[in-house]
Structure formats: structure tokens, C-alpha cells
């Protein structure tokens, strides 16, 4: 008996893209919680970056504004540290977001039970089903994270601009901002993949005979 080979990534990617495009509105809603969480993450990171760069100016006016805004200024190390409370809030928002993604993806698996079963009857391997779900989640995660990062970053810069004026643009260290953007996109995409992993495994383990069942 011959064995079936796996599909090249390009084809899985094409099928996943098609699936996202057709369910675009649904995908959008699923992605929205990620957009918000990542926006919050990038907002706090980039705000810290701006505050840090302003601190390095050594202006006493700015220093007092910063501390009145609630930044913990470590005068000895000459740096801004994120408060534990802030870190907890970011962590919790990301956690809530992952739970939301798992929920949405499990719903999506249930909704597509017959589709998955049919594909398995037509010769889809378990790995193909996992791949499709992970690619979909990865693409949604990437798009959502980028949107969220841009949103959060712009909001953070706009607020800094309002408080401190154009000084921020001369002092701001762009490599630090770029790093924050990269971290936010990476975390967002990984969380999306993490949330889709268990639902994808549930989908892949499904028996093809389920496709035959008639439930209406």
C-alpha cells in the first residue's frame, strides 16, 4: 500500500487564505480582542520608551511631569521602570485575550466539523488539518498584532505629543521604539498560535466518519 505525502506549505497557505477571506467578518471579530490586547501592550512599551528618552534630557520640569504621571523614576540608575501593577495589567489583558482566542477557535472547529471530516474522507492527513488551523491563526495573529501595535504606538505618541510637545521627537530613541514594536508583534502572533494549538489538535483528531453523520 502506498502512503500519502504531506502537502507543500504553499497549497496549505492558499486554502487557509481562502478560508479567512470567506469568513472575513468572523475572522475580524476573532482578531479584535488580540488587536486590543496588543495595542495595550505596545502603548505601555512605547510610552515607557518615550518617558525614558525624556528622562535622559535631564530637564527638571519634564522630570516632575513624569513623576506626576505615575512613572517610577529610579534616580540612581537614571531609568524608568515599569511598575509591577502595570506589568500585571498587561499580563492579564494578554491572558484574557488567549482565552478568548481558544474559545473562538474551538467554536470555529465545531462549526467546521463536517468540513474537516469531509476533507479527511478526501484524504487529508491530520498534519494538514493542524497546519490549516495554525496558518489561519498565524495570519490572523500577524495582521491583528500589526494593527494593534500601530494603534497602540500612535496613541502613545499622540499622548506624549500632547503632554510634552515636539521635544519627544528630538529625544526619542527610534531603535527602542522599533524594538518595542517587534516585541509586541511577536508576542501577539505567538499568543494567537498558542490559542489555536489545542483547537487545531481537537480538529485533527476528529474521525472522518463524523462527516457521514446527519445532524440538522
Amino acid at each position: 500500500m502506498e502512503r500519502l505525502a504531506g502537502l507543500p506549505l504553499k497549497i496549505s497557505l492558499g486554502i487557509a487564505l481562502k478560508s479567512i477571506r470567506v469568513r472575513f467578518f468572523r475572522s475580524l471579530i476573532t482578531t479584535f480582542s488580540l488587536v486590543l490586547a496588543v495595542a495595550f501592550l505596545s502603548f505601555t512599551h512605547i510610552s515607557d520608551d518615550t518617558a525614558q528618552s525624556l528622562l535622559s534630557l535631564g530637564d527638571s520640569n519634564i522630570l516632575s511631569t513624569l513623576s506626576s504621571l505615575g512613572y517610577d523614576i529610579d534616580s540612581a540608575a537614571d531609568s524608568i521602570t515599569a511598575s509591577p501593577k502595570q506589568r500585571w495589567i498587561v499580563f492579564l489583558s494578554l491572558l484574557v485575550c488567549v482565552v478568548g482566542i481558544i474559545n473562538a477557535q474551538l467554536m470555529s472547529v465545531t462549526e467546521r466539523f463536517r468540513e474537516i471530516g469531509t476533507m479527511k474522507c478526501l484524504g487529508a492527513l491530520d498534519s494538514f488539518v493542524v497546519k490549516i488551523f495554525l496558518i489561519e491563526a498565524g495570519l490572523q495573529g500577524l495582521a491583528g498584532s500589526i494593527a494593534g501595535t500601530v494603534l497602540g504606538g500612535l496613541a502613545s505618541l499622540a499622548m506624549a505629543l500632547m503632554r510634552f510637545g515636539t521635544t519627544i521627537f528630538t529625544s526619542l530613541s527610534w531603535p527602542a521604539v522599533f524594538e518595542s514594536i517587534l516585541i509586541a508583534v511577536l508576542i501577539g502572533t505567538s499568543l494567537s498560535l498558542l490559542g489555536a494549538l489545542y483547537p487545531a489538535l481537537v480538529a485533527a483528531r476528529m474521525q472522518p466518519v463524523e462527516a457521514m453523520r446527519v445532524e440538522q
Binding site: 500500500m1 502512503r3 497549497i11 469531509t118 479527511k120 474522507c121 478526501l122 484524504g123 492527513l125 457521514m212
Partner: protein, 261 residues
Amino acid sequence: MKTSAAEDSYKENMTRKNIVRVTDVTKDFDLGKIVVHVLKGIDLEIETGHYISIMGPSGSGKSTLFNMIGGLDKPTSGKVFIDEVDIAQLDAYELAWLRCRKIGYIFQTFNLIPVMTALENITLPMTFAGSTGDAATEKGMELLDLVGLEGRHSHRPSELSGGQQQRVAVARALANDPSIILADEPTGNLDLNTGEDIITLLKKLSSDRRVTVISATHDYKMLNVSDKVIWIRDGKIEKIQNREELDITTGGVAKTSGGDI
């Protein structure tokens, strides 16, 4: 199934062999407190190129037997051979290959992939088999013509009628030139005329392409085209009728069909 009459009528075909062989198959479903014996020892041989109907009331084990033949379920005891290969011995990759290349499935609920067009649905099994591009597209278009859906290639399943969807499903089942087509109540969700069209189409494919068609059904219209009808009752084979015997009993069947359907 030692039927000399059937053997005589297929004598001219010396290469004839059994595409499906089922030996002493039982299937139990463990429901926790009780074990349900759904199949109680089934022996069956299905010859290449035949049109087989499996008939039986609901709960008779018809669907279970059907899934077993299609490699979708494994027996509790006994063996199922497809093309002389014991399917219990196959690993996941070999089973996928079998489902992809040897068997074409047709479902009662059509089961087209809703996000894909008719053509994409038909070429999906080819994609799984590793053939893509122009060759697959061309073959997909040929199959669409074959089932009488010229010009419908870019339609989504939601834009097609039930009968048209089932035609796409038939074309999809043929995508990798399988030896067996398994049809689970293919006319169950169709009206009388459309159902008859699908039956005629399946019969034509079976005789033109020498594809073995195995269908589980309640539909007495199926009897007229079947080479063999396997009646299942209470987990056992009640009787197997050949084409010749069927012709004699058609009158009786027609009468019951009036009462039952």
C-alpha cells in the same frame, strides 16, 4: 456469496476480482453500562465494477457496515479487505492514501466545502493526491462536463441547487479515478426526479468506467439499477439478491415502496 448465476453472467470478464471482502466482521459499541452488538458476523464479497445497494431499516447496522467497507471505521473482530489489503493493518498515511486514491465518497448531505467553488471542490482530492495546476484544473472541468454542469465551475455550493451540489459531489468522488464509490444515501436529501437523475448518473459511471458503486440506501428506486442488493437486518445479512432475482420481485417491491415512502 456462492451464486453461480451471477458468475455465469460475468464469465466474459476473466479479470474479475473482489474489490471488497468482509470476513466474519462484528462491531460492538461500548456505551459504558451496556455493549451494543451492532454487527453480528458479516461475510461479504463485492466484485469489481458492480453496483451494490445495501438496504435495511434504520438501526439495522447498515451504516456501520457501510463505514466499515469505506475504511472509516474499524471492526471489533473480523477483517475487511479492500483490494485484498487488510485495512486494520494500515497506518494513518496509508489510510489517507486509500481514502484519497481508491475510494470516492458521496454523502447524503453533499458535504461540499462551502468556502470553495465547484471546480475547487472537485480538484481538492487531486490536491491531496499531489497533483495541482493546469492538469488538475483541466481534469476538473472535464468532470464537471461529465456530470452535466458545464459553465458552473465558479459557483459556490450555496449558489447551486441540491441536485447540482450532489453532481459536484459525484464529480469530486471521481477526481482521483477511484475503484470504489461509496454513496451514503445519495438521494436522501433530493426530490424524486433529481434523485433519479443522480442514480442514473451513478449507474452510467459504474458501467462506463467500471467503478464499483456501493450505496447504503432506503430508496427503492436504487433497486432497478443495482447488480446486487444486500439486505441487512438486526446486524446480519438477511439476504443477497442478484439482478435476475430482483427483476422478478420488482412488482412486490414497487408495492411496498408505495406504502413505505
